[in-house]
Symmetry: C2
Subunit: 181 residues, 2 copies
């Protein structure tokens, strides 16, 4: 009694997310998404109220993507915050457009901390680990480390940082050691 849906909301969201990941938010227009999805613009507006609605979906998908990325990143370090830093900096290098969307947005969406802490409360885990290591003021330590990590990641995004993962690890450990004492 009715035609079957062939272009789902999920399909459109996936296409838009892939575009955001590869080309940035800029190129996400109704017609471009449609072209990439091999359809007209209609299915987009059937699934989403408007383009802002779609962009919002892309953003949420990016948040989830970062969380998965972080969860999957190998946790090799003992020094607190170093795992977080390694993952964050690598994410900025490998997913420049997503990093920009999430952590250097034009208009404020969520704070750095909100995204970063995610579902599994990544930061709290690290702070706990710092406390266990005998750190007196884990809040102050976190702030400094975090500023440092964010700086490296932002430079990575713009191509102004080119240390390897190994060099980055060494630097993070050194910096963390400096801050701890």
């Amino acid at each position: 009694m009715a035609r079957k849906e062939s272009i789902t909301k999920q399909m459109i969201l996936d296409v838009a997310f892939r575009m955001a990941r590869e080309e940035g938010l800029q190129n996400i227009t109704a017609r471009h998404v449609a072209e990439r999805a091999n359809c007209s613009t209609q299915p987009i507006f059937r699934s989403f109220q408007n383009m802002d609605d779609l962009i919002e979906g892309v953003y949420e998908k990016a948040v989830a993507f970062f969380q998965e990325y972080y969860d999957a990143y190998p946790k090799l370090e003992k020094a607190p915050f170093c795992n977080l830093g390694m993952a964050y900096i690598a994410f900025a290098r490998e997913e420049r457009e997503l990093f920009r969307m999430l952590f250097v947005p034009e208009k404020q969406r969520k704070s750095l901390y909100e995204i970063l802490n995610g579902d599994s409360e990544n930061v709290k885990t690290e702070i706990q680990s710092a406390i266990e290591m005998g750190c007196e003021d884990p809040g102050a330590l976190f702030m400094k480390i975090w500023i440092f990590i964010h700086g490296a990641a932002c430079m990575s995004m713009t191509g102004d940082y080119d240390l390897s993962a190994i060099e980055t690890r060494a630097m993070l450990e050194s910096v963390c050691g400096s801050f701890l004492k």
Copy 2:
């Protein structure tokens, strides 16, 4: 024998720069600039080949503006790089749009270092001061400090950093001390 020019290249550039400073590059369109300059779009295209040409001019003006900002910023600190850091972070807070244009650009123009070092070789001055203070590896020190400063500035730009100038100074001195030893 000819009409006198009433809307100069400089006037247009000034208007566009002010717009960039207040609203960001996004809003710099031919018609918006014209409106702000109280003229039609013609004088723009008489003075500039196209809009990209104008944007390029705005960018160069922003580079010069940063240099002036830095030169005028009070140099109160003794610890190396702290003056640079204070100025850089303050610039990010007070001139968000310009900071974004210069230091977090969508497309690479100049490296952070190129802009930062400017006419008066700001960085070299600081490195020299570090050497005089007995720092063994001023290059490594600079890299760490710089990453830290850039992180604070980027957070400042997005509203994720809210330490006062006094708190910032204390933090920079502490961090610099940590790195020095």
